[in-house]
Subunit: 345 residues, 2 copies
């Protein structure tokens, strides 16, 4: 059934029936505004991200459920990068009138499920007709007053850390571009590849389609007061490090031999003739956290007892020399660039 057959108000009623009635918010869908009572002593965090068909995703390489999860996940990651706890979301969906209603159902189930994993209620939004499918999520989060971790607090001499391992999302995109597809909700690999590589493709494609927002890690850092600056890796390590350093007025040196590259990403890069490091540096969409800290490594490790949760990759320097990567051979290269919505298409 097409969206045009049930109309705007029919669609809103249908969306309302998919979403649970909010219990944390005062007022959900169905009024001029949604309403929420702020937690006493908390600052509000607000973020919004838009996914556009043909720019940020192609319907051929994902499912509407995963698309919903991703649209929510990329915004959750922004809340994580401030050390915040997400609370509520507004969803805007613009789509052609001949979109299938079942597509919208699955999209909202994905949004709902990814939100629910982190305590987020969907309390409002807007639907509109448009020439192309677009999903906008606005997320409201909270953080203890004055404790939001910004991009601008890094100081010379501090260590630079990342959570997790990098390059998986970019490797998944490489695999999708090489012809891997989702069929019956499984990644289908039309290639002569070995068992371990098949597994790596499955995992990295899944990671590309559904980010894992680091809410828990961001909260732990904010609660401990350990991070002086933080950003999530949406554009790629190189580009996001440049952003953080520019906002902080500092430089940075990271070391190639310390960058934690995802094992599956390495295997996929090698199979498809790409450099693993390039996926980690320029790939983007890993949605890991990059942060700086004046704390000793042992004290950071005490926050994250599980080995591999965080890795020190370099140091903050004085303003002036930009961001650079020290290679295995001791040479250094300047880090720049990243994904640009209006240019790298």
């Amino acid at each position: 059934m097409k969206v045009s057959a049930i109309g705007e108000f029919g669609l809103i009623e249908r969306i309302r029936s998919i979403l649970p009635r909010p219990h944390g918010a005062l007022l959900g869908i169905g009024d001029d505004c949604a309403a929420l009572r702020p937690t006493a002593g908390a600052d509000l965090l607000l973020t919004t991200d838009l996914l556009v068909e043909g720019v940020d995703f192609t319907p051929q390489t994902t499912t509407p459920f995963r698309l919903g999860r991703k649209a929510m996940g990329v915004n959750l990651s922004d809340i994580a990068a401030m050390g915040g706890l997400p609370r509520a979301a507004l969803i805007t969906v613009a789509m052609p009138p001949d979109e299938e209603v079942e597509f919208v159902d699955e999209l909202y189930r994905g949004l709902r499920e990814e939100g629910a994993r982190f305590g987020v209620e969907i309390i409002g939004g807007d639907v509109s007709a448009s020439p192309a499918l677009m999903i906008g999520v606005t997320l409201v989060g909270e953080v203890e007053a004055g404790r939001a971790v910004t991009r601008s607090g890094a100081k010379p001499g501090e260590l630079i850390w990342v959570t997790g391992r990098l390059g998986a999302a970019a490797a998944g995109l490489v695999a999708l571009r090489a012809g891997c597809r989702l069929r019956d909700d499984q990644v289908e690999i039309p290639l002569e590849v070995s068992g371990p590589l098949r597994e790596a493709i499955g995992q990295t494609v899944e990671r590309h389609l559904c980010p894992l927002p680091r809410i828990r890690e961001g909260r732990a850092l904010a609660e401990a007061g350990a991070a002086s600056a933080m950003i999530d890796l949406s554009d790629g390590l190189a580009s996001d490090l440049v952003h953080l350093c520019r906002e902080s007025g500092v430089s940075a040196t990271i070391r190639e031999d310390q960058i934690p590259i995802d094992q599956g990403a390495s295997a996929i890069a090698q199979h498809f003739g790409q450099e693993p490091l390039a996926l980690a540096l320029q790939g983007g969409e890993d949605f890991e956290l990059l942060f700086t800290s004046s704390w000793e490594p042992a004290d950071i490790a005490a926050i994250f007892p599980d080995a591999g949760t965080v890795t020190a990759i370099g140091t903050v320097g004085d303003a002036g020399h930009g961001c650079r990567l020290e290679r295995h051979d001791g040479t250094a290269i300047a880090l720049t660039g990243g994904y640009d919505h209006f240019r790298n298409e």
Copy 2:
């Protein structure tokens, strides 16, 4: 100059330079999230509305500055309809890479100016490439805890009120469809019309292009505790009255001879062979407030001493018989319908 020439980050820097640094918010554009300290004892109001090229506007009949004002204004109206005070906005703009940078400048100037009229700071957002131009505004407002005026509080026996006069925005759209255009920021009227009608066309076109959000009136009602339910007239009096009654579980009877129709709208309707009442009932986009109250008319008038600010147009009834209009001749017709994004194109 095209947006593609300066790229995503160049565009964000340009937008940042147009907007004043926020002083009411903790953190504006340039981080993973914006941050805001809530006013103690206030509830948060959240609303979002999307304007899509070819669906909600055509570049031929407006200017980018007015488009920015309207995108902000329709959201301000939602905050007004809850009795709230707007505080901060996130702006999402999706556009083709060959959009002119100057267009974006003017759009953000319009957003900034309309927001500033009501104390709203633009503190974040997103920009993305897309096949069509789209402007999404998410607005955060506040209202004294527990005092938000919802759509669901109307009770049988109460009076139904509207602010201002109706039909002007719809009459402006009639004039635009008849060939009136903006040129050098003036409404150009390529028609043989008299002086008073020319003036009416100018005023109603302006009203269609830039709504006048009733923040002051909404606040006065919330502060007095006078309104039991409220909604803003975005879809048209008929449709929005149906929405309010459905959420409240009541019926309504409004009287034709009490509906305040805009004088210019009446003149334009007559000139173009339309019924003035139809513009007021079905036209939409007046962005006046429709509210119900158990208060005596004299007590409502004491809140709004200026004559014509509010008009009683009917009464709330028991659930069951829906919404109806009593005509001059004593007959009654059922009220339904309104604009549907996915149907009435």
